[in-house]
């Protein structure tokens, strides 16, 4: 009898235990509802808790909630909900904030400003280079360098900064060794839409004469408003094989994200002059979050400043000399920013 009770007890315990561990809600917690109101509230609160630029952009997110929450109902279609969410996110005016809805019926909304494309054409420049070497595909090189015909001016182009820092350590060093006997250099950052800030630091350090602070970054570390990590300090550090002769850095509205932290770093190098247009104006990293209905949203969780504590989010970095190419000029074969850079260097 005693044995029977024992066996029954342990069998019941086992069955109860198996029932317990197979219950997802109990062991893993509850998933939020996928209805429009729940999705909207999740989107809003995710930004409320994680977005790093409310202070910089002087936005009252609670006020924005009050404005938009009334427009959401559980009867609305996916597209209608997407429209309301997009409208709310547009108030951030942040190039690193976007929202995507999967297929069928894929949609993407970008919160940041859009600028005309076609203000820069690499092929136009390649026609003027007497010697050209590149790494990566012929039609879309990752790093390209050469000399302008009949001059001793070098040219270095970076498509993006998305490769690991070691890639740039190797290839930019090779490029600068090849260009070491030029008198000046044009460094084209107009194609750099983004990448890794560490790679930006590596490339900029090849043009540094001394160690200098160029950027401070910090990230949200809890849902509390303005609760950020300590500042992370970014410096340019002179490298062996550095190019310390005069450099003109070309920027435009297509220079974004890591392209802009690169521009911040290059500004600290004394020999560098910046010609072209403002940069895009989106600096912080932008990790993604998933919404209960399966949409994905990207947002800036950092606060990136220059060495003096100034933020250029939504503004962009101003060049030393503003020359904004138009798509029409470029399609007709004219690159005014490049022409100006050449004339400055030839005048040296």
């Amino acid at each position: 009898m005693n044995r029977f009770i024992k066996t029954s007890f342990f069998t019941s315990l086992l069955v109860y235990g198996l029932g317990l561990v197979s219950c997802n809600e109990l062991m893993l917690g509850k998933e939020p509802s996928r209805i429009p109101i729940s999705t909207f509230e999740y989107l809003w609160s995710t930004f409320n808790d994680h977005y790093g630029l409310f202070e910089v952009k002087q936005l009252d997110w609670e006020e924005i909630h009050a404005e938009f929450s009334g427009q959401v109902s559980n009867q609305m279609s996916d597209d209608e909900l997407f429209d309301v969410c997009s409208e709310m996110l547009s108030r951030l005016n942040d190039g690193h904030v976007w929202l995507v809805k999967p297929n069928p019926g894929f949609r993407r909304f970008d919160s940041g400003p859009s600028y005309p494309e076609g203000t820069f054409d690499l092929d136009l420049i390649r026609e003027h280079l007497s010697e050209e070497t590149f790494f990566g595909p012929t039609e879309n090189p990752l790093v390209l360098f050469g000399r302008f015909k009949n001059t001793n001016i070098g040219y270095l182009y970076l498509d993006h900064l998305g490769e690991a820092p070691g890639f740039y350590e190797k290839h930019v060093k090779t490029a600068l060794a090849e260009l070491a006997n030029t008198d000046e250099l044009i460094l084209d950052a107009r194609g750099i839409e983004g990448g890794d800030d560490r790679s930006a630091q590596v490339v900029a350090s090849f043009f540094a004469k001394e160690t200098k602070l160029y950027m401070k970054t910090r990230f949200k570390q809890s849902a509390k408003p303005a609760d950020f990590s300590n500042w992370i300090l970014w410096e340019v550090n002179p490298k062996s094989g550095a190019y310390t002769k005069p450099v003109v850095l070309l920027t435009d509205r297509g220079t974004g994200s890591a392209g802009e932290t690169f521009t911040l770093a290059m500004r600290q190098n004394e020999t560098v002059e910046i010609i072209g247009n403002f940069t895009y104006g989106a600096f912080s990293d932008n990790p993604k979050w998933e919404l209960p209905n399966g949409w994905i949203v990207a947002m800036s969780t950092g606060d990136f400043r220059d060495q003096n504590g100034n933020s250029y989010e939504g503004i962009g970095l101003e060049p030393d000399e503003l020359i904004a190419n138009t798509p029409g000029e470029v399609s007709e074969g004219t690159d005014r920013a490049l022409t100006r850079a050449l004339s400055i260097l030839l005048g040296n």
Binding site: L28, P102, N103, F106, R108, Q201, E290
Partner: protein, 277 residues
């Protein structure tokens, strides 16, 4: 029929008598064993740092384990590697594009996870049909997935756990093994609250590990149980079928809950025999 029954009974008695007789005169206990295990399991993950949704990973894996037994002591060293695709059943299969008119891709991230471990146990009791051991286990578990909600997802956990093992011998060929582990202190690295790992002149891996925090049972709960049935195939080898379950809860920077149901089929090689009279 009667003749067949008699023959079988005689053969059975002969075999039984031989085994019994042999076990009474001399016993050979293996001093070490090497175990290779094929693993198949399901991980269920609810990590609010990555997604509000629960992700399932059906995975396959391989486990290698070396055990050394001497007197009352047991040492164990092991390695494990597993991989599977992550799906959120509530969201179904989702195809995204990076931009309008661009090529589509299915968002089904792969998860890679594994562990390396070392452990020591000392016997609490060693009777003829029953053994029990208590000890510690030190192990590092690493998880990595690229593309969970289009982000990198990672976790590393170096933990020291209390481990209790109970072993019941059913005759000479059958064993039932029960095993319970409970971490007491861990060093855990997770993606930070911002989901960004970026520091000047440091690899992302190094920066990620730098975020590690020491935690104890009040913040991290991860009980693990394992039951196994082992059948002695031959002098030097056994087959083992085992089931393991673990549940994890940790609250920083945002709550993560995780369960694993895992089946394993093992081949065990016994060696370094010692003779016991």
């Amino acid at each position: 029929m009667n003749k067949l029954f008699k023959s079988l009974l005689a053969a059975g008695c002969l075999l039984g008598g031989t085994i019994l007789g042999f076990s009474q005169t001399q016993k050979e206990n293996p001093g070490a064993e090497l175990t290779v295990t094929y693993l198949r399991g399901t991980q269920k993950l609810h990590d609010l740092q990555a997604s509000p949704m629960i992700y399932f990973t059906d995975y396959n894996g391989l486990n290698l384990d070396y055990k050394r037994m001497k007197g009352h002591n047991r040492w164990e060293f092991g390695l494990e590697a597993k991989t599977g695709s992550m799906r959120a059943p509530a969201l179904g299969e989702r195809e995204f594009q990076f931009e309008e008119g661009g090529g589509g891709f299915l968002l089904i991230p792969s998860q890679y996870f594994g562990e390396i471990r070392a452990g020591y146990q000392r016997s609490l009791s060693q009777r003829e049909n029953l053994e029990s051991y208590l000890g510690i286990s030190l192990r590092d578990q690493v998880h990595y997935a690229d593309g969970l909600a289009m982000n990198t997802w990672a976790m590393n956990q170096l933990g020291l756990a209390i481990r209790y093992t109970h072993l019941v011998k059913l005759g000479t060929r059958h064993q039932i093994i029960g095993d319970v582990q409970l971490p007491i202190i861990s060093i855990i690295a997770r993606m930070p609250y911002s989901n960004v790992v970026s520091q000047p002149e440091k690899s992302q891996f190094k920066t990620f590990l730098k975020e590690s925090t020491v935690t104890t049972a009040h913040e991290l709960q991860q009980p693990e149980i394992r039951v196994a049935y082992r059948y002695r195939l031959a002098h030097r080898s056994s087959l083992e079928l085992n089931y393991a379950y673990d549940w994890m809860h940790y609250s920083k920077p945002q709550p993560i809950k995780k369960t694993n149901h895992e089946l394993g089929l093992s081949w065990v090689y016994h060696f370094q025999f010692s003779h016991i009279n």
